[in-house]
């Protein structure tokens, strides 16, 4: 590089201080969120029809035999709570990836049809093909990737325009939802509650069989997305600027889509498309962290916290036992609308 007038040390220090300050805030938020997730996780192991003190719960988790608690906590509550965390992290991470990539908080996978595609496929495999377990997960991921590829292909003319991608996604979402409705209406005995799993998401009756594939997907794909963090931040500046900064725009976008779609599909196959979690996690995280720095980790934690708390609320706080998706849906809806109003008024990302 050419000779540059050396900056004054005071300016350099000011720049460094500002950066450190912002990073510190982000670290603090992440730490607090992590503590809250752990607390909510512990709570969901302890609370239920029978309350088990932390000591019992800990012993069960460590593999010791505790009469009563071993079954209730070990077999019923633990897989459920683990899936809540895994699904929340997956939905949060995937959602914020899409939102960052498409530069639009409303472009989350549940608005643009990826979760609903996965859900339609899972419901189809279960109702029509009588499949279960891994086969359902595989169907869901194939469908979700199919939807993503279809969307991407349809939106592609001289590069992908974010706005077109979102609108095409909305169209695909409408189709997927009607397929789900059709499949459910063909289900032998119409079980409204079971159907809700595929319409809004539910953790009821979670087993390890459903949880483990989602967990593995998170372990593999989560780091993949985290590695992309910096490139995704670059994409926020617009495709041209990102490209000028040396980011391979299309490659970054495709990798991010594959990673995020994989996470969504595995989580959706396990518990259905828990409404609004992938949509809400990013904006809530942005609110807490502030606009600087990556939102990936905070959003994942917010997602996990949302699912854990909503599941507790759905199970115990209301007269009826609501599946988690109904709770997140009802809580999320007003926030969603608030967000649209705010984004539109700012004239910003829309």
């Amino acid at each position: 590089m050419t000779a540059v007038a050396a900056p004054r040390p005071a300016t350099v220090d000011a720049v460094a201080r500002g950066r450190t300050r912002r990073a510190a805030r982000r670290r603090l938020v992440v730490a607090v969120l992590a503590v809250l997730v752990v607390a909510a996780f512990a709570a969901s192991l302890m609370i239920g029809q029978t309350f088990y003190p932390p000591g019992d719960v800990l012993r069960v988790v460590l593999g010791q035999d505790v009469p009563g608690a071993s079954f209730t906590v070990g077999r019923l509550r633990l897989p459920r709570a683990v899936l809540a965390v895994v699904a929340g992290l997956s939905f949060g991470l995937a959602g914020v990836t899409f939102q960052t990539m498409l530069r639009n908080p409303l472009a989350s996978p549940d608005v643009i049809g990826i979760t609903s595609g996965a859900s339609a496929a899972a419901a189809f495999a279960i109702v029509f093909l009588g499949w279960s377990g891994t086969a359902v997960s595989v169907t869901a991921i194939v469908a979700a990737l199919g939807v993503a590829v279809l969307m991407y292909t349809l939106a592609f003319t001289d590069g992908v325009a974010g706005t077109r991608l979102i609108l095409i996604g909305i169209g695909i979402a409408a189709m997927s939802k009607s397929i789900t409705s059709y499949v459910l209406s063909k289900a032998g005995a119409w079980d409204f509650a079971e159907a809700l799993r595929w319409l809004t998401g539910s953790l009821n009756g979670t087993t390890w069989g459903a949880t483990v594939p989602a967990l593995l997907a998170l372990v593999v794909l989560g780091p993949l997305l985290l590695v992309l963090t910096r490139d995704l931040s670059g994409l926020q500046l617009g495709d041209d600027t990102a490209s000028a900064l040396g980011i391979r725009v299309e490659r970054t976008r495709i990798t991010a889509i594959v990673g995020a779609v994989g996470l969504l599909a595995f989580a959706t196959a396990a518990c259905g498309p828990i409404a609004f979690v992938s949509f809400l996690a990013g904006p809530i995280a942005a609110r807490i962290v502030g606009p600087n720095g990556s939102l990936l980790v905070p959003a994942a934690l917010v997602g996990a916290l949302l699912v854990l708390v909503a599941d507790l609320v759905g199970q115990f706080a209301l007269g009826t036992r609501f599946p988690v998706g109904v709770v997140t849906g009802v809580l999320g809806a007003p926030y969603l609308i608030y967000l649209i109003v705010r984004t539109n008024r700012a004239g910003g990302s829309l």
């Binding site: 609108l167 209406s185 109904v326 969603l336 649209i340 539109n344 004239g347």
Partner: protein, 347 residues
């Protein structure tokens, strides 16, 4: 967008379609409607002979065939009426918002009507058919105002993207509320489910009779607003310059459109995409003059919904596919193709 007309600019040749061509198309569409209505009575999980149809029209339901035809006649009428209402409603909505993606389904207006009805049933013990229609219309109007207000905030006004997103988000929110209300009420869950997917299967003459007055008013108001919509298509400022009272004209047209889709939803549940697809096809046939476009959209809407209903009965024999599912499967790809044709900056 307040200045440029963004509803698809047709090439000049289409805009200046001679009247004779339009009349010819009118005949074709009407003939298609008649043929589809006949088919709708005949075709189904059990095909019915013509003699049975004639007998059923005379009020007889002695044989199985006659009984089937007796059920299919109101069903067919309902499909035609609801389809016409949705097609016209969509055409008016696209004119009022100057937005090619406007549709009662896309904008979440159907779901507004659904939620209102579900709330009415679950919390206020709503039973009477007329009360349900009123509730649905109020719900539709509320959702329409809300979505349009949200979608037109900020720079650029109600762009297709903003309106569609606002509509989708609002629908999703409304569906969540519907589910949350219905779930603890096992007694009404089944009937609520029909408020999430539209269908015409349970049609009766009584039901049609209840909504007909609302629909007739809606048809009249909408069709009368054709001339104002032509001015509005040039942008608010220019329309005002042409002597149009913009707010009044918009309000009237929107009222007609909401009456139509609210009443249609009240009787058939939320049926999406008819209002989206039909006006676009009709524009290809008769151009952008609303005085032609609106009646055409009504007739073609009737055709589309009747045809979708027939398809739903054929593909899923011996059971049926709700017509709302069929229209979504037909309409969503159409929606996507419209999006693909638009230039990015117009979105």
């Amino acid at each position: 967008m307040t200045t440029a007309p963004s509803v698809p600019a047709p090439d000049a040749a289409v805009a200046r379609r001679p009247g004779s061509v339009r009349l010819l198309w009118l005949l074709v569409v009407v003939a298609a409607l008649v043929a589809l209505m006949a088919a709708s009575v005949v075709v189904g999980s059990r095909d019915v002979g013509w003699s049975d149809v004639v007998a059923a029209l005379g009020g007889s339901s002695d044989t199985i065939g006659q009984a089937a035809a007796t059920k299919r006649i109101p069903r067919t009428l309902l499909a035609v009426v609801v389809g016409a209402a949705l097609g016209l409603s969509g055409a008016v909505m696209q004119g009022v918002t100057r937005n090619p993606l406007a549709d009662p389904g896309v904008l979440g207006i159907n779901m507004g009507a659904s939620l209102a009805v579900v709330v009415g049933i679950a919390w206020f013990g709503l039973f009477s058919a007329t009360a349900i229609v009123w509730t649905a219309i109020v719900g539709a109007a509320g959702a329409a105002v809300f979505v349009y207000a949200v979608g037109s905030l900020g720079r650029g006004g109600a762009t297709p993207l903003k309106l569609a997103l606002a509509g989708t988000a609002t629908s999703a929110a409304l569906v969540s509320f519907i589910t949350a209300i219905a779930l603890p009420r096992g007694d009404i869950a089944e009937s609520v489910q029909s408020w999430e997917i539209g269908g015409v299967g349970g049609a009766t003459f009584d039901a049609i009779g209840t909504v007909l007055p609302f629909l007739l008013v809606g048809f009249a108001v909408s069709l009368l607003s054709a001339r104002s919509l032509n001015s509005l298509a040039l942008g608010d400022e220019l329309a005002a310059g042409l002597g149009e009272r913009v707010v009044l004209a918009r309000g009237t047209a929107a009222l007609g459109s909401v009456l139509l889709c609210g009443a249609a939803t009240a009787v058939a549940g939320p049926i999406g995409f008819v209002g989206l697809v039909v006006p676009h096809l009709c524009r290809l046939l008769v151009g952008v003059d609303h005085r032609w476009l609106l009646p055409f959209s009504a007739i073609a809407g009737g055709c589309l919904l009747t045809a979708s209903d027939i398809v739903g009965r054929i593909v899923a024999r011996p059971s049926e596919l709700d017509v709302g599912i069929v229209t979504a499967l037909i309409g969503a790809p159409f929606f996507i193709s419209i999006v693909r044709r638009q230039k990015v900056r117009e979105l």
